[in-house]
């Protein structure tokens, strides 16, 4: 991170996001602190999607007309932008419906390896093999692996989480062994904000010949991420958390792996040759994009990447760092508030979860909402992690480039207001 860079112009950024100008709940200024769930979209992204639909909309990779050609260029151009954004090659990016589908794609393709050709040998998994995850995973990076284990007879194992919300790597050597086929883990916890040591896990996995699958949903939108440098085999992230549309996610796979991986969804577009009784499949990424894909969404996600690049991901990371630090300080100063996750900003992103003694998270969220402060409450699709952290439910504020220090203050004030309302101050 360069210290000489000018800080992010948050006033200018906010002007690009029409939704931030609205009021909620009887005229309250909207304080949107739920970007960890979904981010808002700037005019540039909305305009790009509309412009594509008004000028070049067609089904891609088919059709002999000019629109089809332009639509295909726009779709594949977006793929290139996204590949550049995360430090990988064009052919290593697969578009999926969302990040969840990307993880399922890898898990199901591995299950399909049992009946695929010899090139898929390294993906085969069965009794005696192990899948390693962590206790801080979003359900999207846990349930598909539970299911793969159940279908194949493999064993699911996991890293624990320390009391302060860091990954417990003390049993790394016992967990990642020659039996391990996959190590699937999150880059940044969507609850704790913890940033995991990707290289340590990737190196350990590579040393035993295991594949790595990185959930990068909470990291790619918020700072510089280079999958090649991180040394992971697969990674997923979602469009709607990085200023893009919903309905599109991205799977990264190392080229040689994608070339050997059997398909997951099959049908049109993903074939090489089709006979009545059997078919052969297209090379990646087409092999993993069956059917007419989401096109305007891909184009808009490309525009989101342009927008993030124009602002600068280093600058965004520095801005969020400042907000996170202020939020941790402000919340920690309130008696009865417990931060669930690291209380310092070392290796930590801008998701801040907390509990308030004597008030259930839902009730805290309701008071915050009445003051215009939009947060998420519940277990945030990380139920085992909440159990581990002794919290039935938490309140989560999550920040992005358009949030301000004033909004952090609004959050802290609103939490105090909730304590007053429920008589626990």
């Amino acid at each position: 991170m360069t210290t000489t860079a000018t800080p992010l112009d948050v006033v200018g950024v906010r002007a690009d996001f029409p939704i931030l100008g609205r009021t909620v709940r009887e005229g309250k200024r909207l304080v949107y602190l739920d970007s960890g769930a979904t981010s808002q979209r700037p005019k540039q992204v909305l305009d790009a999607e509309r412009a594509f639909l008004e000028t070049a909309n067609a089904a891609v990779h088919r059709g002999a007309h000019q629109l089809a050609e332009e639509a295909t260029d726009a779709y594949e151009g977006a793929r290139q932008k996204i590949a550049d954004f995360v430090g990988v090659k064009y052919g290593e990016i697969v578009f999926t419906k969302n990040a969840t589908e990307g993880i399922n794609l890898v898990a199901y393709a591995m299950g399909n390896a049992a009946t695929a050709g010899p090139e898929a040998e390294r993906f085969r998994i069965g009794p005696g093999d192990e899948i390693v995850v962590t206790e801080m995973e979003h359900h999207a990076n846990l349930v598909p692996w539970q299911q793969l284990a159940a279908r194949t007879g493999a064993t699911l194992r996991w890293f624990g989480v320390t009391d302060e919300g860091r990954l417990d790597l003390s049993d790394l050597d016992e967990l990642v062994t020659e039996r391990t086929k996959v190590v699937a883990f999150t880059h940044q916890s969507n609850v704790l904000g913890t940033v995991n040591p990707v290289r340590v896990l990737a190196d350990a996995a590579r040393a035993v010949g295991a594949l790595t699958v990185l959930d990068a949903c909470q990291s790619v939108p918020h700072g510089p991420v280079d999958f090649t440098a991180l040394g992971v085999d697969f990674a997923v992230f979602s469009g709607h958390k990085m200023l893009g549309p919903s309905g599109i996610g991205v799977l990264y796979g190392r080229r040689e792996l994608l070339e050997a991986l059997p398909p997951f969804l099959t049908g049109g577009s993903m074939i090489e040759m089709v006979h009545m009784a059997r078919s052969t499949f297209a090379p990646p990424p087409a092999r993993f994009e069956a059917g007419v894909p989401m096109t305007s969404q891909a184009v808009a996600l490309g525009a989101a990447v342009d927008y993030l690049n124009a602002i600068g991901v280093d600058r965004i990371a520095a801005h969020e760092h400042q907000l996170t630090e202020a939020a941790l300080r402000g919340l920690a100063a309130i008696p009865g508030v417990r931060i669930v996750g690291p209380t310092d900003v070392v290796d930590r992103g801008g998701a801040v979860s907390f509990v308030v003694d004597g008030i259930h998270a839902h009730d805290v969220g309701q008071v915050l909402d009445s003051l215009g402060v939009a947060v998420r409450v519940g277990h945030h699709c990380a139920w085992p992690l909440h159990r581990r952290m002794d919290a039935a439910a938490t309140v989560r504020a999550s920040f992005y480039l358009y949030n301000t220090l004033d909004e952090v203050t609004a959050l802290v004030d609103a939490v105090r207001e909730a304590q007053k309302f429920f008589g626990v101050a």
Binding site: H360, H362, D363, Q366, G378, W383, H386, A392, A393, F421
Partner: protein, 147 residues
């Protein structure tokens, strides 16, 4: 302020001083219900005396709305014939699903009318119905056990 419409004093009273809380023996059937979106849960037991609800006991953890509505439930159904208990349940469900358009009958729902404001917040309706779903399920189980 809208907040007071939702969190009526009656609701906060039931939340702070819940009626009938705690799991008790003997009982005929038990139901465990969860709200998968937030992780709230309730375990509820019914004890029947013929067709009369002799006791409802429960334990769980959740927000003020789910806890208070289960407390109100015990007031409404304990000592009542099952038919009447279900009428009250139907009235409460109708109120909660009415998006604030249903006028509650205090003779039927007593303290339950305080939840009218909650019905305007679709995300909280599940909270208010958690205990009631457990009651319905527990009665069905007890009838299943008898059959």
């Amino acid at each position: 302020m809208q907040l007071q419409q939702m969190y009526q004093e009656i609701i906060l009273d039931h939340y702070k001083n819940p009626h009938g809380r705690g799991l008790r023996d003997p009982y005929d059937a038990e139901s465990h219900q969860i709200n998968p979106t937030c992780g709230d849960e309730v375990t509820l037991r019914v004890s029947l005396d013929g067709d009369t609800v002799r006791d409802v006991s429960y334990d769980g953890q959740g927000c003020s709305i789910s806890q208070a509505s289960t407390s109100v439930l015990t007031d409404l159904v304990v000592g009542k014939p099952l038919g009447e208990a279900f009428e009250k349940m139907d009235a409460f469900v109708e109120l909660m699903q009415g998006r604030g358009q249903v006028e509650p009958d205090e003779d039927v729902l007593e303290d339950g009318i305080a939840f009218a404001g909650v019905a305007k917040y679709p995300a909280r309706v599940k909270c208010a119905l958690l205990g009631w779903m457990a009651f319905k399920d527990a009665v069905a189980r007890s009838e299943g056990a008898k059959a």
